[in-house]
């Protein structure tokens, strides 16, 4: 049985990796992947806490998060594809049309 702290620690590390990836990487596809990483880190936390508390409510949320993540990936990838078609760019810092 993996201890509670290990699972939570892994979740925190994965979330941190995702955050850093979103902030520092330039490729939009990698950004999307990092977002997925963050979502799944949260999923891991939910599962861990649900197990720890002997409750199913946390597990319920995991399904919602996975659904949202799937939708996000679909929409996000579609945006990236059309963005590439329109502007030949997949780097986040090159896309700053909303600059004030």
């Amino acid at each position: 049985m993996i201890p509670f702290e290990y699972s939570m620690g892994l979740s925190a590390v994965l979330f941190g990796l995702g955050v850093v990836g979103v902030l520092v990487r330039r490729n939009v596809i990698v950004l999307l992947m990092c977002v997925e990483l963050m979502l799944n880190a949260v999923n891991l936390a939910f599962v861990t806490v649900a197990d720890h508390l002997n409750s199913v409510e946390g597990l319920l949320y995991v399904f919602f998060v996975m659904t949202v993540a799937a939708a996000e990936a679909a929409v996000g990838l579609a945006i990236v594809v059309s963005l590439y078609r329109a502007r030949r760019a997949v780097h986040a810092d090159e896309i700053s049309l909303l600059k004030g």
């Binding site: 955050v19 979103v22 902030l23 520092v24 950004l31 986040a92 810092d93 896309i95 700053s96 049309l97 909303l98 600059k99 004030g100």
Partner: protein, 667 residues
């Protein structure tokens, strides 16, 4: 017959509508018939109303006719109606009678004017407004007429509006009148506040109970109403528009600016005599302003050369007499002078119009002279009216003016009496100066170039009728001292009777407070009681003799100056250069008003524009825009368009929030 008084203003209104709407397409004869006919019908109805009123016993001579309910709001009800009593009856007779003669005269005078139908539209409209003014049963209806005559005055002064100076004269009259009207409005508001109504009959009945005699409120009301009267009736300090009003056609000067409209203020005070009698302070102010105006305007008239300007200042001066009469409590005498003045001053103005017409638009007396031979009808009628205004018995002016002066003396207004008395001789002098310069002496124009001609019958017949009235008009008011019955006083007694009761009230109220300023009230009451007293009779004869002698002296001086020794006036003027310049330039009042009020208003307007508007208001508006703009341009730096920068911001926010709850809130 009394039920028909609504027809009196109705006929001129129809005349104005017909001429105003269809006049351009109608032949001149028809326009003239409609205009004159409508006023003549009004005159006939007025005469009928007079006899119906006379048939009633004196106490019942009040007839009120409500036409319709004008304003009904909650408990406030204002009716539009007409009030016929001896006072308004005199006024409608004067307005329609003199008005009709001037309409007839105008047909001849204006026959060649392209604005013929427009002229008669305005003239009819004026009659309608003036009759509304004098017949109105409340202050509000009076005010409608009051503004209506002001409008017509403006329209007719600026009748020849192509001339910028004449249009400006019209505007001056209107604006100066508006100043007075403001006071009048405030007076009306005060009355409404105290009485809850503006109808004359209840106000005059309830005044002794509602208002404290001699109190601040009745004094304020009467003074504010008097401000309105100074504007409309051309008294100091608002008289300046009347001399300029001579820019209008001469019959207009006769009708509006001599006989009728300018007497509206006198009528209004006569109508409110109950209120005025309760306010001795206001009475003193009215009498003093009136007497000052009489002398002031008279002195200006001495030096003027424009024939109409002399008559204009003479009108201001005579109106001053009327206000003196009102102020000393001799209301009936004031209305009496109003009536006789309407006759002889209308005659004088129409005569001057005839002269101007005959001289081909020449108004300067220095280029007249010797017209006696050329225009005999004008000469004789003018002379009669001049003798009447100079106060020579037995013509009309003597009785009315002397009555005013006698009342001023008897009621204890010695100072005002002195001013009025001084003006009386001056009146005789400048009027005869006018006659001598115009009709006597050598012709100071080239008879071959200017073909002087007598005016047509449509102009001379009204002149003769008015001259006749100037002779006999005073005989209905011959005082008891000269063996007359003074029917005019008896006729007005039902309207003016309340005044002596109110004066009693003042006396009692003041007596209770231990004031001494009530010599006026006691003498007013005393004068009535002792009218037949022997000592008074002697004084009255003495004053009569004095004023006649003084008037004759004025005529004699005028004769010496302008017939016997024509070079004398020039020498006197050269000797008293400063005084002459002062009088010739009308005491520089126009210039002072220009410098103080007109320039002051312009300076205020410039200040409001250049500082308040441009600096303050524009500053606030533009400043708001500028502030939003600069804040926006500062904040736009945060909007980088970089998704990752936004993500960092969100992260920081999340860290701060979580940190706050984790660190701060947990303690």
């Amino acid at each position: 017959m009394l039920d028909m008084i609504w027809l009196v203003p109705f006929f001129p209104m129809v005349g104005a509508l017909v001429n105003g709407l269809f006049g351009r397409r109608m032949p001149k004869g028809l326009v003239a018939t409609v205009a004159c006919g409508s006023v003549f019908l009004s005159f006939l109805v007025s005469v009928g109303a007079f006899f119906s009123l006379k048939a009633l016993p004196p106490a019942e001579r009040v007839f009120e006719q409500v036409i319709f309910e004008w304003i009904a709001s909650g408990s406030t009800k204002v009716t539009l109606g007409y009030l016929l009593d001896p006072l308004s009856c005199v006024m409608i007779l004067v307005v329609t009678g003199v008005g009709f003669l001037i309409h007839v005269y105008s047909v001849g005078y204006m026959s060649h004017d392209p604005g013929f139908s427009r002229y008669f539209t305005y003239l009819n409209l004026f009659c309608f407004a003036m009759l509304t003014l004098v017949l109105g049963n409340s202050f509000l209806v009076l005010f409608v007429g009051w503004e209506g005559v002001g409008l017509c005055s403006y329209l007719l002064i600026g009748f020849w509006f192509e001339d910028a100076a004449k249009a400006a004269a019209g505007m001056k009259a209107f604006i100066v009148n508006r100043i007075g009207d403001f006071g009048f409005l405030l007076g009306m508001f005060l009355i409404f506040w105290k009485f809850g109504t503006l109808d004359f009959v209840p106000i005059m009945k309830e005044a002794p109970e509602v208002l404290v005699a001699g109190g601040a409120i009745v004094t304020a009301i009467t003074l504010l109403l008097f401000v309105g009267a100074t504007g409309k009736s051309a008294q100091i300090p608002l008289y300046v528009w009347l001399p300029d009003a001579m820019a209008g056609p001469t019959p207009v000067s006769a009708l509006i600016h001599a006989a009728t409209m300018v007497t509206a203020g006198v009528y209004m005070i006569g109508r409110c005599n109950v209120l005025y009698s309760m306010a001795p302070t206001s009475m003193t102010v009215v009498a003093t302003i009136g007497a000052l105006t009489a002398l002031f305007a008279g002195t200006i008239a001495i030096t003027q050369y424009d024939i109409k300007k002399v008559l204009a200042y003479s009108t201001v001066s005579q109106l001053g007499y009327m206000f003196t009469a009102m102020g000393v409590g001799a209301y009936a005498a004031g209305i009496f002078h109003l009536m006789t003045h309407a006759f002889f001053k209308a005659c004088l103005f129409l005569g001057s119009g005839s002269v101007i017409h005959g001289m081909h638009e020449e108004q300067d007396m220095r280029r007249m002279g010797g017209l006696r031979k050329h225009m005999p009808h004008t000469y004789w009628t003018f002379l009669i009216a001049t003798i009447a205004i100079a106060g020579v018995p037995p013509l009309a002016g003597f009785f009315s003016k002397d009555e005013i002066l006698w009342n001023a003396w008897a009621n204890g207004f010695k100072f005002q009496w002195f001013l009025g008395f001084a003006a009386a001789g001056i009146t005789a002098f400048y009027m005869f100066r006018l006659v001598f310069m115009t009709f006597f002496g050598k012709e100071r124009f080239d008879p071959h170039e200017v073909h002087v001609h007598e005016s047509p019958a449509s102009m001379t017949v009204p002149l003769w009728i008015l001259a006749g009235l100037s002779i006999v008009g005073g005989w209905i008011g011959i005082p008891a001292a000269l063996g007359g019955a003074n029917q005019f006083h008896q006729w007005l007694a039902p309207v003016m009777g309340g005044a002596s009761e109110a004066a009693e009230g003042v006396k009692q109220a003041a007596g209770g407070l231990g004031l001494v300023s009530t010599a006026w009230a006691s003498e007013a009451a005393g004068a009535a009681a002792e009218a037949g007293g022997h000592a008074d009779l002697v004084a009255e004869y003495a004053l009569m003799f004095l004023s006649v002698a003084y008037a004759l002296l004025g005529i004699l001086v005028a004769y010496i100056c302008y017939i016997a020794k024509p070079d004398l006036p020039g020498k006197v003027a050269a000797k008293c250069r400063g005084l002459y310049e002062l009088l010739y330039n009308k005491y520089f009042v126009d210039e002072i008003y220009q410098a103080v009020f007109v320039e002051g208003t312009l300076a205020l307007a410039t200040f409001c524009y250049a500082f308040v508007d441009v600096v303050v208001i524009d500053g606030i508006v533009n400043g708001t825009g500028l502030l939003v703009r600069s804040v926006g341009s500062g904040l736009r730096r945060f909007q980088t368009g970089q998704v990752q920068a936004y993500a960092l911001t969100i992260l920081l926010g999340a860290v701060i929030l979580v940190g706050y709850y984790a660190v701060v809130a947990s303690f």
